[in-house]
């Protein structure tokens, strides 16, 4: 087992290098990068008569032409003056030293910018993840035990609704319905806390957080609601048709015991593998839900960094989320082996 883990970790290295290489190359070679953006902004400013806001490092004539020195200066600022392989190596060595560079727009180390957003995404991701398992597992079990009956049929509608409406889109509807849109004004429009948060006592703060979290958490749950429920149901149904359950019934066990002591345990295996991606869920956030509810987490940060072309932040988030995804894959496999003793990795 230890050798298996070691081998998997070693295999993660070339994969990680590959991912970063591709992303770095895309950002570098696709036209319209930061240097061209800066030149265009400069030209626009010159055309607009003035250009006072542009911090011009080099000299330029007044017709809006950008001098060669200025282009060089811009390239140097954005690290485009070196050839690609050297720039990549420089960046990669720094990443290995946990130095993700400095954000253009925040003027702070990328790591500080990203880590300040961790708690926010963790709060929503964590609650959503736990709640979705707490709801989906019992619901899936109920659906399997009552397969073909009224309850199964009625809850199937819920599952289809959940599958057909993306969580973030449901979020917009919830805002219209309950966020003071056209109907009821029950929940806040977004954000993490009220304006007077710091004046509240402890319980007031808890209530305030909860008040702000209800709608986003609901959307997070909705994202995985349908698939998890159906997975649980199908997996239990499959086990209920197996011979060992027949044996359990044959030896006179009650239905409750046969299902919960025998069948359910085995049918939880496919769900357990999903737990491996827990950390990605926790930290990655969702661009869409965070944008809808104006939650300043990782998702919104990556979205904003793209809009403002803050490349170090974009690459930093990419590095962190791909590492998390790789670890998540490994964890899923390990958990799979842990809960199913028939599986042995070599």
């Amino acid at each position: 087992m230890a050798t298996y883990i070691l081998r998997r970790m070693l295999l993660m290295i070339p994969t990680f290098i590959g991912i970063t290489f591709i992303c770095f190359a895309v950002m570098r070679f696709v036209p319209g990068g930061p240097v061209e953006q800066a030149i265009m902004q400069y030209k626009a400013a010159m055309m607009g008569g003035g250009g006072g806001e542009v911090a011009s490092g080099g000299s330029s004539n007044s017709t809006g032409e950008v001098s060669a020195e200025m282009v060089e200066e811009l390239k140097r600022i954005y690290g485009f003056d070196k050839p690609f392989h050297i720039a990549y190596l420089d960046w990669f060595v720094k990443v290995l030293q946990f130095d993700l560079g400095e954000s253009y727009s925040y003027q702070k180390p990328v790591w500080d910018v990203i880590s300040s957003r961790f708690p926010v995404s963790m709060f929503f991701g964590g609650i959503g993840f736990v709640l979705s398992y707490l709801v989906c597992v019992p619901l899936g079990v109920m659906k399997a035990t009552k397969h073909g009956q009224g309850f199964d049929w009625a809850s199937s509608i819920l599952v289809f609704v959940g599958y057909s409406i993306p969580g973030w889109a449901a979020g917009v509807v919830l805002l219209v319905l309950f966020g003071g849109g056209s109907y009821y004004n029950v929940f806040p429009l977004g954000g993490m806390q009220s304006m007077n948060y710091h004046d509240l006592d402890f319980w007031g703060r808890v209530a305030d957080k909860f008040h702000h979290a209800v709608l986003p958490v609901f959307c997070y749950m909705m994202g995985s609601f349908a698939t998890t429920t159906v997975l649980m149901k199908n997996s239990l149904m499959e086990n209920l048709g197996q011979d060992y359950v027949r044996t359990a019934f044959a030896k006179g066990l009650s239905e409750k015991k046969a299902i919960f002591k025998h069948a359910l345990r085995n049918s939880l295996i496919p769900l357990a593998t999903g737990l491996g991606h827990f950390f990605s869920f926790l930290l990655a956030g969702s661009y869409l839900i965070e944008k809808v509810f104006d939650i300043h987490g990782m998702g919104l940060l990556s979205f904003e960094s793209l809009i403002s072309r803050d490349y170090p932040v974009t690459l930093g988030i990419l590095v962190i989320s791909s590492i998390l995804a790789l670890i998540g894959n490994l964890l899923s496999d390990l958990i799979y082996a842990l809960v199913d003793p028939r599986i042995r990795f070599k």
Partner: protein
């Protein structure tokens, strides 16, 4: 514009066969003495778009087999899925006639004793306006009005009725176009609430939401179908070669697939879209989504091929000297298409959602294109305007629900395993 882009792409794809054949000969010639199977495999992947005819044959063969006939009968007996399939394909076919049905251009104009059918010209202009040069719109001077702007038929109708001189205008059933602003009809500023004229109200620029919804349906469906087709084309070819050849080629390409699928998909698309500036956004998005969406299918097809190639008919084909590509695409592929068929509806659902999400974030289709995601984004801004949220969400919900009903039925029809509850 966007549909025109699509048509161009399809035409170019089919016309370039000659060019591609040349490239293929060049490639095969260069590799004839190449260093073994790895090279050959890579070349095969590069060549795979050339094998479209083989794909068609494989799909045809697949549907002719008796097992599939039985499964198709099963699918037809699953009423919910089957009727969803009929309904959505009917709506989709109908949606191609939207420029005829939902448009501000009049069906029929009678002016000074002469008959005009402006909608025919605008309909043709909508689809092939970029390819052929012809007069797709009538101008005000054509109907005795001052000025030479395109005719506004609704006001033309009013003025003809006021004149009462035998001139006549017959408008389309829903006489509003998706990109036309109707600001002059209202005193208040847009968005305007739904009323008898604008069934779903208007958006923040006074454009008719109902018309934008319908055109958005056509664009979303077309987009999702093309992306699904392209990504499955790549996925099936790569998976087929991997499973058939195995060995070093399999290991190397699998690593590449692993790397490719570890890149966060939506984020990567957003990065490229935010950087690249192009006039053919729809084409770019289609290729991006296909480029990041083909990996899932490779695993399934690879597995199918690994299983199938051990069977006797493959050995028989090899022993009589059938070409590798023929074995892969004509002999094995028809037996390995089950995952393609059963995952396709869900892939379509995923691609529609992806387009809506990208449009919502502003990384999708360029601005005037009718799109559900853009409407939802407006709804997020104008929370008081419920119609800006309920209309696109209702459309999205209905479409995705119908498609997933189809998917559910297909899966049931193709699943040999019947759940049996003991006791």
């Amino acid at each position: 514009m966007t549909d025109a882009d699509l048509i161009i792409i399809l035409v170019v794809l089919s016309l370039h066969d000659g060019l591609r054949l040349g490239a293929m000969r060049l490639l095969t010639g260069a590799v004839q003495n190449g260093p073994g199977i790895l090279w050959n495999g890579l070349v095969l992947i590069l060549r795979s778009p050339l094998l479209l005819p083989d794909f068609y044959k494989a799909v045809l063969g697949y549907f002719q087999s008796p097992i599939i006939k039985r499964r198709a009968d099963k699918f037809r007996s699953l009423k919910r899925g089957y009727y969803s399939f009929l309904l959505i394909s009917g709506l989709y076919v109908l949606s191609f006639f939207l420029p005829l049905l939902v448009t501000d251009v009049a069906w029929y104009v009678r002016y000074e004793g002469q008959s005009y059918f402006p909608v025919v010209r605008s309909f043709a202009g909508y689809y092939v306006g970029n390819l052929i040069n012809f007069k797709s719109t009538y101008f005000e001077s054509d109907f005795g009005l001052l000025g030479d702007a395109p005719v506004r038929y609704r006001s033309l109708k009013k003025s003809f009725e006021a004149q009462n001189s035998g001139n006549k205008v017959v408008l389309a059933p829903y006489p509003y176009s998706p990109n036309e602003s109707n600001l002059e009809e209202y005193e208040a500023r847009p968005p305007h609430a739904p009323d008898k004229v604008h069934w779903f109200g208007t958006d923040d620029r006074g454009r008719d939401v109902f018309a934008r919804m319908l055109y958005g349906f056509q664009i979303s469906m077309t987009f999702a179908l093309v992306v699904t087709f392209l990504s499955y084309l790549i996925g099936v070819s790569v998976g087929g070669y991997l499973g058939y050849y195995g060995g070093l080629f399999d290991i190397v390409v699998q690593r590449f697939v692993e790397i490719w699928s570890a890149i966060p998909f939506l984020f990567a698309v957003m990065i490229v879209v935010s950087i690249v500036k192009t006039n053919h956004m729809m084409v770019l998005l289609i290729f991006l989504l296909a480029a990041f969406g083909w990996m899932g299918m490779t695993y399934y097809i690879r597995g199918e091929f690994l299983r199938e190639k051990a069977k006797d008919y493959v050995a028989a084909a090899i022993s009589i000297g059938v070409k590798d590509t023929t074995i892969i695409f004509r002999h094995i592929l028809p037996n390995a298409l089950t995952p393609v068929i059963s995952f396709m509806p869900f892939a379509i659902v995923g691609n529609i959602s992806a387009l809506v999400s990208l449009d919502f974030l502003g990384f999708g289709l360029p601005v005037p294109t009718p799109s559900w995601g853009e409407l939802l984004n407006q709804g997020r801004e104008y929370l008081k305007c419920y119609w800006l949220v309920f209309a696109p969400l209702g459309g999205l919900f209905a479409t995705l629900m119908l498609v997933s009903f189809i998917g559910e039925a297909v899966r049931e029809a193709f699943d040999p395993k019947q759940y049996s509850r003991l006791r």
